[in-house]
């Protein structure tokens, strides 16, 4: 069957003009093209062989009519057999580049699955442009953290990084029913992982599970109810997870409160959600993560952490009047440091990183920062764009080449932009003490 990049009307005309039998499908949004890793770009279309390929087509009797759809998208050919094995694949490298039909017929007549080649890297010029333009917007903050930064830096992304099979891996992710957590869980499930969605609201968790299953075809998505701010709830979730191996733990759950709230253990809400709860869960799953051949712990921080220095005592007793944005930034700064401390503790046994997703359009941003959302709306990243680096750290080989680093857009970043935000070794030690002290009797390790 033929899949084309245009409308039904054009497809019908195409069928009539060329007397095409069989199924013709239309994909104007290029979903299947991207899923198949088909190339796209001006350099590929405007290659030196464009004219020779066009002349060859003219000579064979083909005449170019009016066209519709993305003119820079290239095509390809895939042969699939029942059961989902790939028997043949060809991705055009330039306009007019077609395989020998005899090779396709041979694949049909001698159907042995082929090794799936890795997806093509973007051209060197494109990668260089991505790096250069991404670096150019770094100092602006605005165009670095917003969608502009992601789109520029993504020019250098290698699709092959996420052409991985995670079928042997169990990934646990908190706050997974919406936004970046949901998109990350979706990506992990799409790569074959078993995914446990740790969510506070069971109805939203069930809806997220259904959405992931529908989108990916996965039947390995589970939900576990947990309130990450309530240490008793975290303990119960850890008990539920105790029966199975855990290869990946992603601390994504977050909160930005507009007034001081205390948890069941009398901890400030942001501290409990971002620090105490995740620390406890990591402690409880530590042995499993170390037993994994590729254990990873990832923390979703925020660019807001750049504005503040670690203040350990304020983590436990926020200043009055309560400032939810400051509490959020403080705990996000603490997350980055805690991730580094965990990386030291798990060195050689599991990989630990933190990251920030940039400024993304998520339900949390819309509800917690309505003014920011109104101003930034069109410039915000999509949740999938915000989740990209998290998914990359979780799934790619590149994500485990180091540990204890902080990332934005798949690039390792400094954790301080201002000298006054640097903490001392004593501050770091005290943070760990605080995390351990709020867990009396909860962990005998």
């Amino acid at each position: 069957m033929i899949i084309g990049n245009g409308s039904a009307a054009f497809a019908q005309t195409f069928r009539e003009d060329l007397d095409v039998p069989g199924t013709i499908l239309i994909d104007p949004d290029l979903l299947s093209y991207r899923a198949a890793g088909l190339r796209r770009g001006r350099a590929e279309i405007l290659s030196p062989r464009l004219f020779t390929n066009a002349a060859r087509a003219l000579q064979s009797g083909y005449r170019q009519n009016s066209v519709e759809g993305d003119p820079w998208q290239l095509g390809g050919i895939f042969v699939m057999r029942p059961g989902g094995d790939l028997l043949y694949q060809y991705r055009s490298r330039e306009a007019g580049d077609h395989p020998d039909p005899a090779n396709i017929l041979a694949a049909l007549e001698n159907p042995e699955p082929v090794a799936e080649e890795s997806l093509p890297d973007p051209p060197a010029v494109q990668r260089l442009a991505g790096w250069a333009l991404g670096a150019a917007v770094d100092p602006t903050i605005l165009f670095s953290f917003d969608r502009t930064g992601f789109l520029l830096r993504s020019l250098a992304f290698s699709p092959a990084d996420l052409a991985v099979d995670l079928q042997s891996r169990h990934c646990v992710i908190t706050g997974a029913n919406s936004g970046i957590g949901l998109e990350t869980a979706m990506g992990l499930a799409d790569l074959g992982a078993r995914v446990s969605l740790l969510c506070r609201n069971p109805e939203r968790a069930a809806a997220a599970k259904a959405e992931i299953e529908e989108a990916t075809g996965s039947r390995r998505v589970e939900t576990v109810q947990v309130d990450m701010s309530d240490l008793d709830s975290v303990e119960r979730a850890a008990d539920l997870l105790a029966a199975d191996p855990v290869d990946m733990l992603i601390h994504n759950a977050g909160v930005l409160a507009d007034r001081l709230e205390k948890t069941a253990q009398d901890l400030e809400l942001a501290f409990a959600t971002h620090i105490a709860g995740p620390h406890l869960l990591t402690r409880r799953l530590e042995t499993k993560l170390c037993d994994s051949s590729d254990g990873r712990v990832l923390w979703v921080s925020s660019g807001g952490m750049y504005t503040t220095r670690l203040d350990n005592e304020r983590l436990l007793s926020p200043a009055e009047p309560y400032d939810g944005v400051m509490a959020y930034a403080q705990t996000k700064r603490a997350q980055v440091i805690l991730a580094e401390l965990w990386a030291e503790r798990l060195q050689g046994k599991a990989t630990v990183h933190s990251m920030h997703p940039g400024w993304a359009d998520t339900p949390a941003v819309r509800s917690s920062l309505p003014l920011f959302y109104r101003i930034m709306g069109p410039l915000l990243r999509s949740p999938a764009e915000g989740a990209d680096t998290l998914l990359w750290l979780a799934a790619s080989e590149a994500g485990r080449k180091s540990s204890g680093k902080f990332y934005l857009d798949r690039i390792e970043r400094r954790t301080h932009l201002l000298p006054l935000t640097r903490e001392t070794a004593q501050d770091r030690h005290r943070l760990w003490e605080i995390c351990e002290d709020v867990l009396p009797g909860r962990d005998s390790m």
Partner: protein, 60 residues
């Protein structure tokens, strides 16, 4: 216990999923309309027989 039951069901149900190629997982769940407006889920195209997917640059 609930997780153990779920895992057992998943192990049975995921047998097919575990044998899926990477391309099947990527393309299979996508649904596209044909030129008559009827939807087709891509993995239905190779459900009972081999399928040749010809991605053209554009119509015309």
């Amino acid at each position: 216990m609930g997780l153990l039951v779920m895992q057992a069901c998943d192990t049975v149900a995921s047998g097919y999923h575990n044998n899926m190629s990477w391309m099947e997982r990527r393309l299979g769940p996508i649904s596209l309309l044909d030129d008559s407006g009827e939807p087709h889920r891509l993995d239905s195209l190779w459900e009972t027989r081999p399928a040749v997917l010809l991605f053209v640059r554009h119509f015309g």
